[in-house]
Symmetry: C2
Subunit: 206 residues, 2 copies
């Protein structure tokens, strides 16, 4: 988390810095990004950077968590709009994320993020790590899910189901960037896999 000093900065100075950071993280992935470039572009001295952030990771995960807030908000909204239909919600969220990530201004930022996706990044994006603990995050979603349509016996099975669907969702988003798929191709792949999840992998007898 950025230090208090950063939040005390005038809004436009914050914005300049955030913009400079996004530029650098769009140019190259986190591990290749250099603080020198960010401060040069933002026009602040090196020492100041360390007044605001612990290091470049601190800044990067702050940027991501901002994106995450939007994602979680959107997910809950869609879930309610679809009367708790988990599949429609995941699919519509997927479309939303694809379109966000394909957006000209943000495409490279997300490309660099997803091509280097690991559990820490995934957690930041999927669970709003900063805001609330993960348990309450899931419970929050669980309340709005229409369980009557799902093939589950208890809350634990639902939890596992959501985890599988999240893993598949991220896998497909990553693949979109890896294989440089169009939005349409990515969506088809995702729809196919969601269809398989719905209907089950095994014939009834097995």
């Amino acid at each position: 988390m950025p230090k208090q000093t950063f939040f005390h900065l005038a809004q436009d100075k914050q914005d300049t810095l955030i913009l400079a950071a996004k530029e650098e993280f769009s140019r190259v992935p986190l591990h290749e990004a250099s603080i020198a470039n960010i401060i040069k572009s933002a026009g602040i001295p090196r020492g100041s950077f360390y007044q605001y952030f612990d290091d470049k990771e601190d800044l990067y995960f702050y940027l991501l968590s901002e994106t995450s807030k939007k994602n979680t908000g959107k997910f809950l909204l869609i879930l309610q709009e679809n009367n708790g239909d988990l599949f429609k919600t995941f699919i519509e969220s997927f479309r939303f994320m694809v379109s966000t990530h394909k957006d000209k201004d943000q495409a490279n930022f997300f490309k660099n993020a997803f091509l280097n996706m690991n559990y820490k990044l995934e957690n930041t994006l999927a669970n709003n790590v900063y805001e609330e603990n993960q348990k309450s995050h899931f419970e929050n979603i669980s309340k709005s899910i229409d369980k009557s349509m799902l093939n589950i016996e208890d809350e634990s099975e639902l939890h596992h189901m959501v985890r599988v669907m999240t893993a598949v969702t991220f896998h497909n988003l990553v693949q979109m960037f890896v294989k440089d798929l169009t939005a349409k191709e990515a969506e088809n792949s995702y729809l196919m896999q969601m269809k398989l999840l719905k209907r089950g992998f095994c014939k009834t007898e097995c």
Copy 2:
């Protein structure tokens, strides 16, 4: 891939270097590993390192691909032993990998790998990237799968199914390290998710 020069080295010198590398990559994850430590531990000069490898990534992915060979071999073997039962195969492979990764000598190496798992690492481990192209890798597996028990209409659906199962498998391996689960806990989680995949997420009418 390491350069020819490396493979021309006497076997014991190769082994010393590999061992030194494993030590370093067990101590810290790839991005924190230092070539200085590896060469010091292996007792070779810096210049020599660059005769053998492009950089530390080159060495690291070579190590991983060696592991991968074992995994793929084991997977195919188990698949045949189980007469093409995809689920039994994934589950037994999972157990095999968990026990490998929990092995005292290798635990930290794999911990560092899985806590920083990204698509490139996953691909290296799952698809033997060096050896063959991925298409032929899947076809190779596909031949041995008993499709009669699976709820699929064509080869493409099978492909997606395997991809989903692979994604879930990696997700569970990562979670084992993230949440520091015992082998038993990790297995239970995995079995639960495999059960859900088998039977389908949706009730029949939806």
